[in-house]
């Protein structure tokens, strides 16, 4: 009820703001996040209910991995005799993975469909559209029915 009233107010009186006798409250319990976006952390039930020993142990292991990487990085960063750039192997791996997908490519139904839809169909469709349009205009010019206003030479 509150949301439909709010919507009606928004839709009809969107330019005006008038004093309302009752403050329309927005109930965060029925907050629905946008598709592909995340839920705010204060509304995430995992933060309140899923606090088991296993989760804490997992978090500690991740923190240990993170701390190890941090130590490696800071050792190199604060080395006074270092002259070269600090190479990041994760970055190298990412670049390599993005640049070399073909060794792992396999023609399946999905990949073939994607290839056809994005590679073949636009080419063929645009060729067909432009060709028929140009042929139609050429036929009109030859028949003398086309209104050609812009002269190239006078």
């Amino acid at each position: 009820m509150v949301t439909t009233t709010t919507r009606a107010v928004n839709a009809i009186f969107h330019q005006f703001s008038f004093a309302r006798s009752v403050r329309h409250q927005i109930n965060m319990a029925d907050y629905k996040e946008a598709p592909l976006a995340t839920r705010p952390r204060t509304l995430d039930p995992n933060d309140y209910f899923n606090l088991s020993q296993e989760k804490r142990r997992a978090d500690e292991e991740r923190a240990a991995l993170r701390a190890n990487l941090k130590r490696q990085y800071l050792t190199q960063l604060n080395n006074p005799s270092r002259t070269e750039l600090i190479e990041d192997p994760a970055l190298t791996r990412w670049v390599y993975a993005r640049a070399n997908p073909f060794p792992h490519f396999r023609p399946t139904f999905k990949t073939s469909l994607l290839g056809i839809v994005f590679g073949v169909v636009p080419l063929v469709t645009l060729y067909y559209i432009f060709k028929t349009d140009r042929d139609r205009k050429e036929a009109q010019i030859k028949a003398g029915t086309r209104d050609r206003k812009f002269n190239l030479a006078y």
């Binding site: 839709a11 598709p35 490519f105």
Partner: protein
């Protein structure tokens, strides 16, 4: 493959006369640069391969989840949660503050899409339903009113009968 071989050949030769040539002949290579097992490889099939891949990408074995093997070219690259860099803690001391990323941390496949100049997956302040209603309500209302305005135009030039008669002379 041939490119790598030539590069190694050039590197060993430029190291000088004595050590360089003998290193080239014996087939040894420098210890710098990426090691052989540190680059992405094919999809892992056995649990041992999964553990090795998780170690390579600095992930826990339980956290490591490769992309499904559907031939799209991912290999053993890990499938990280689709979260933008906008969502990361702005107050933590990141190694690369503008990217909100630490050194050595595994990068999302679409990392360049999730940087802070681009796609943002952080929670919206207003709920999705409310946003939809406001946007489509406004657009619908404006379309409806413009349609009404076409049917019942409210502005027409008002001309006196004398002026109308004098206008006709110049027709």
């Amino acid at each position: 493959m041939a490119g790598v071989g030539f590069r190694r050949w050039a590197q060993t030769l430029t190291k000088g006369r004595g050590v360089g040539i003998s290193a080239l002949l014996s087939g040894a290579r420098a210890a710098s640069g990426a090691s052989k097992g540190s680059l992405p490889g094919p999809y892992p099939t056995t649990p041992a391969e999964r553990a090795a891949a998780a170690k390579k990408y600095n992930l826990r074995v339980e956290d490591y989840e490769p992309y499904p093997d559907n031939g799209q070219g991912f290999g053993d690259y890990p499938k990280l949660p689709d979260r933008s860099q906008h969502e990361r803690d702005p107050w933590y001391q990141w190694d690369h503050p503008d990217l909100r990323r630490n050194w050595g941390e595994p990068m999302h496949w679409n990392f360049d899409m999730y940087i802070r100049n681009r796609v943002d997956t952080s929670p919206t302040p207003v709920s999705w339903n409310s946003m939809c209603k406001q946007l489509f309500g406004f657009i619908g209302f404006m379309l409806f009113m413009f349609y009404i305005g076409e049917v019942f135009p409210a502005y027409q030039p008002v001309v006196s009968p004398a002026q109308e008669r004098s206008d006709e002379l110049f027709m």
